[in-house]
Symmetry: C2
Subunit: 334 residues, 2 copies
DNA sequence: TTTGCGAATGCAAACGTTTGCGTGTAGTTA
DNA sequence: TAACTACACGCAAACGTTTGCATTCGCAAA
């Protein structure tokens, strides 16, 4: 790595002190107009680019123009969309993005949180592993702005943007019932995740509202990953009295469920109807097109980033809590 | 942002000089065993975490444990997989990852390349916009290790890992011909991208080898994005004599093609056969399951990251060039 | 002429590391 | 005992910024 041109080089060539250069860059302090012009000229000539590392080291209070995003897995389209939302906002404000996949692994989460602090990022966006995530709490205590997405933290003093999970599941199950189904298989998420629980409750509430009895044998708990969707769907379909419709409460598990259904050669929606969660790249052109609950993933990321930037600018700002609405997209699978 | 515990704090409490602490951390220089033990103990007690920013600032030659990844769009599953491959390797070696989406936009690419340098990352992984990317060249000249993925740079002194595009397209078209098709629509990528050109040539070569005449009206050039796949498929299907099979040369455009086909209510493969490029989340369970050319995206990322780490460790190492093999996955769509 | 004052700029410390060099101590050799 | 050597560790500079505190200068007010 060659040494790049630095403040000193510019200062020397422009015959001023480095502080003058610094101030013209940051528009801080009083600098004469013609001096500024000269400095700028030299900067252009030398192709000077401020060193972000040095800047971060010195001014840990000032903005370092670096954001952290810690997500379970970028291969999940939901998080890919979310990440893209964050990135677009970040770019618009000249922020770079540190991206980390923690795979629901607390060890990895801890590692990456440490990295965030060690890199002294301006702020972090993440879905906490569970409501009482001590590692995240610690970061918050250290004074790093944090905004939670998708899942929430019990500490209510944080900015957060979530999607109304209860509503999403409610709409889905309501729709399934409206199609005439009574035996509805429910592939839920982990019981210890807020999203999993809320979607479960939403589904149950829809059942209750329609006076459809809740059968615990029809409810299975997965881990939001593809394989568990496949396995649990098989389980449900081998029941003595199998469900006529399926509600799968996240995107990856929906793929798994489709695998199981395809393996059994079942026709959708005749033999088994299905409502999924999360929009997937091929869902709209699927055969039959998939009825799903669409979460505004990109919007979540966008809002979160904007909240974070706002908080960085004004740390005292009272915490904002956003709840975005999912949308039931009725196609042909149910 | 509270100030974290630093070397000085540790040094003070352990009654040694900061250099001693630094050396015990990095295992450099000679430090007595019992001193090391004492220092380590204090570090644990204080929960000391080295400041990566300061480390990077000081030791721009030493490893800063930060990698940059600049890709067109993380929402493209191909790049999501690739990114994941990079990330896994990075994590295993305690590197963090700076992720950027440049959207095939030279302005953005330039911005992010500047960020990379300003952050003094250890190295960068990217698919160059086109073969003669001056911005990337500049970074290379500055001494930052760069490895190209997916697409290549004319400068052959770089490490690179690509997928054999010619082979992928060849296999695909060969298979289409083997299924008895003679009128084959080809949705190609941009003519000014190496991947686009190589896939086109691969397809043409398969046609030539089978003595199937090449009709230029059946070849359309897209931009590797979904919308162009949709539009061009419509174009091809409105031809007086439409193709009986389609080869779509990337994942996003395949989705678009499927949109067009669905909009026209055509049956796959009876009315129109299709071979896509890139594995997509629902491709295997699609109805019919999609025949596609699968690129080892994760592997590309993994190899690239390993190459990069190797180069960082040994900058003089002669450049390595990897060419991974795509795989034709025959399912039911052709 | 002196004093005061604001505007423009310079000086130097600080951020938290790494590292070349210097120093002290103990052990070895002549 | 003197001279070396090896080892363990301390000192201080350097990385490229930002920023509080001078300092200089010109000019208006007293």
């Amino acid at each position: 790595m060659k040494k790049a041109t630095s403040l000193v080089d510019v200062a020397r060539k422009a015959k001023v002190n480095i502080s003058t250069v610094s101030r013209t860059i940051n528009q801080t302090g009083k600098i004469g107009a013609e001096t500024q012009a000269r400095v700028r000229k030299v900067m252009r000539e030398l192709g000077y680019k401020p060193n972000r590392v040095a800047r971060r080291l010195r001014a840990r209070d000032a903005s370092t123009h670096l954001l952290g995003l810690i997500i379970p897995n970028i291969q999940n389209p939901f998080f890919a969309d979310l990440a893209r939302g964050v990135e677009d906002v970040a770019y618009k404000h000249n922020f770079a993005l540190l991206l980390c996949n923690y795979d629901e692994d607390e060890k990895k989460e801890q590692f990456y949180l440490d990295v965030m602090q060690a890199e002294s990022v301006d702020g972090v966006i993440l879905p906490p592993i569970h409501e009482n995530d001590p590692a995240v709490m610690q970061v918050v205590k250290n004074g790093t702005p944090v905004v939670c997405v998708d899942r929430i933290l019990s500490d209510s003093s944080l900015d957060k943007v979530e999607v109304d999970n209860h509503m999403g599941a409610y709409k889905a199950v309501e729709h399934i019932i409206a199609q005439g189904h009574r035996r509805i298989g429910f592939i839920a998420g982990p019981a210890d995740s807020s999203t999993g629980r809320e979607r479960l409750r939403g589904g149950k509430d829809a059942l209750i509202a329609a006076r459809v009895p809740i059968k615990s044998e029809l409810i299975r708990f997965g881990d939001f990953k593809q394989e568990s969707g496949r396995l649990l769907t098989h389980e449900l379909l081998t029941l003595a009295e199998p469900p006529t419709a399926l509600f799968v409460s996240n995107g990856l598990m929906t793929i798994g469920a489709l695998e199981a259904i395809a393996a059994r050669g079942l026709k959708i929606p005749k033999q088994i109807a299905l409502v999924g969660y999360d929009e997937l790249p091929l869902a709209a052109v699927f055969n039959p097109p998939l009825t799903i609950v669409k979460q505004p993933a990109y919007e979540v990321g966008r809002c979160a980033a904007e909240l974070l930037l706002k908080r960085i600018a004004d740390p005292k700002h009272p915490p904002t809590s956003l709840k975005l609405h999912p949308e039931l997209i009725v196609r042909k699978s149910c």
